[in-house]
């Protein structure tokens, strides 16, 4: 292999300027810049590109749970007349007092709905201070779903109700480190230089 030219190396590193190059190398560099510069064009994306992106973005559906969460937690202004507000308050109080059995159940499997399957995710990371789960079912949110290390043994778990289907997911360790699940049935390239794990949830799956 040809020996690396130290002066060119130094120039490419930005340690020296083009004027500090030897005459022949300087002329060669100027010629190269000129030739490459001839390809330069003022590139402007056509309007159709942006429109196409935003059209596709609009088509991407947000999962129902996410929309519900947004609806519940996004601050908004609600205009209510004093009379209507009093009526709603009184009606709510009456329901709570007269029908205590209506309190929501704390059983997560009941809340999940009959068609969902509670799926357990386990990740072993004794060194981790936090582990979160994200994937198709969590819109790949960085916040994801928190796992718990209930016994302090480094075995992090969480149960997630999922509809039957095939999902890609990954774990986020200590808030920044994306790690696939070594126990997953399959791993797929995510196209971003990382690997996603795959879970298959069937109606017969048991947790």
């Amino acid at each position: 292999m040809k020996k690396v030219d130290d002066q060119l190396d130094s120039y490419l590193s930005g340690d020296t300027t083009i004027d500090e190059l030897p005459e022949a190398l300087r002329r060669e560099e100027e010629r190269l810049r000129g030739l490459m510069g001839s390809l330069e064009e003022d590139v402007h994306a056509p309007l159709a590109l942006r429109e196409g992106v935003m059209l596709e973005v609009a088509k991407i559906s947000v999962p129902l749970w996410r929309r519900l969460a947004d609806w519940c937690f996004r601050p908004r202004t609600v205009r209510v007349t004093p009379a209507a507000g009093t009526l709603v308050f009184a009606a709510s109080a009456a329901v709570l007092l007269l029908w205590p059995g209506s309190a929501p159940t704390s059983d997560p499997s009941a809340a999940a709905g009959a068609s969902q399957v509670v799926t357990r995710f386990v990740f072993v990371a004794p060194e981790a201070s936090s582990v979160r789960l994200t994937g198709d079912f969590a819109s790949w949110s960085q916040e994801g779903i928190a796992l718990e290390d209930l016994r302090g043994t480094g075995i992090w778990t969480v149960d997630v109700p999922l509809l039957p289907g095939i999902y890609q997911y990954t774990f986020i360790v200590n808030g920044t480190e994306w790690r696939p699940d070594p126990r997953a049935v399959s791993q797929v390239d995510d196209g971003f230089g990382q690997v996603n794990s795959v879970v298959i949830v069937s109606a017969e799956s048991a947790t």
């Binding site: 390809l39 942006r50 196209g191």
Partner: protein, 188 residues
């Protein structure tokens, strides 16, 4: 909105305001499109690649670990797509390049027929297309998009020494292909 940082825009999109994503598109579409075109893609195909990259970026925005460096993250998606589409089309491209190279001397319009600048540009374009893609990418990012070696290294995930080696080899390849332009008597 034009002064808002990428990180703040990404946060707004993630909180549900998807229209804000249009600002990120406006901010980076020209730069990404230029890169894809310089890498040898035709205008229509380049638009498809960039559009696809933005849609993928939106889908996986939660995976953008450093929202303030959205552009670098987006660039990696664009680059991956270029490689995927490029390898898919590699057979077609190599065939057309072989044809292109063999017919270049005889079929390209000469200085007498068209402006010499256009003729030279076509020669450089064809020469760049013959340079291996990693070297071509380094040349494009440095000489056409104005990035330093360190920035190219960060964008491509390669080491600085690897980028310098690619640049040197790319320069040598171009010099060979365009030997007449580098001869002492040639005036550009």
């Amino acid at each position: 909105m034009t002064d808002t940082s990428d990180g703040a825009l990404v946060a707004q999109v993630l909180s549900g305001d998807r229209d804000v994503f249009g600002t990120l598109v406006d901010r980076y579409q020209d730069q990404m499109l230029a890169y894809v075109k310089y890498m040898g893609f035709g205008a229509d195909e380049a638009c498809d690649v960039v559009q696809d990259a933005f849609v993928r970026a939106f889908r996986h925005l939660g995976r953008c670990g450093e929202p303030d460096r959205f552009a670098g993250w987006l660039f990696k998606i664009v680059r991956n797509l270029c490689r995927t589409v490029g390898s898919r089309n590699s057979r077609r491209r190599s065939e057309s390049l072989e044809q292109h190279s063999s017919t270049l001397a005889s079929e390209l319009p000469g200085p007498d027929e068209r402006a010499e600048a256009n003729w030279a540009k076509a020669r450089v374009r064809a020469a760049l297309d013959t340079v291996p893609s990693h070297q071509r990418e380094a040349l494009v990012l440095m000489y056409l998009q104005g990035h330093s070696v360190s920035e190219v290294a960060e964008l491509t995930g390669a080491s600085r020494s690897a980028i310098k080696m690619r640049l040197k080899r790319g320069r040598e390849a171009l010099k060979q292909e365009l030997a007449d332009f580098f001869s002492e008597g040639h005036e550009s």
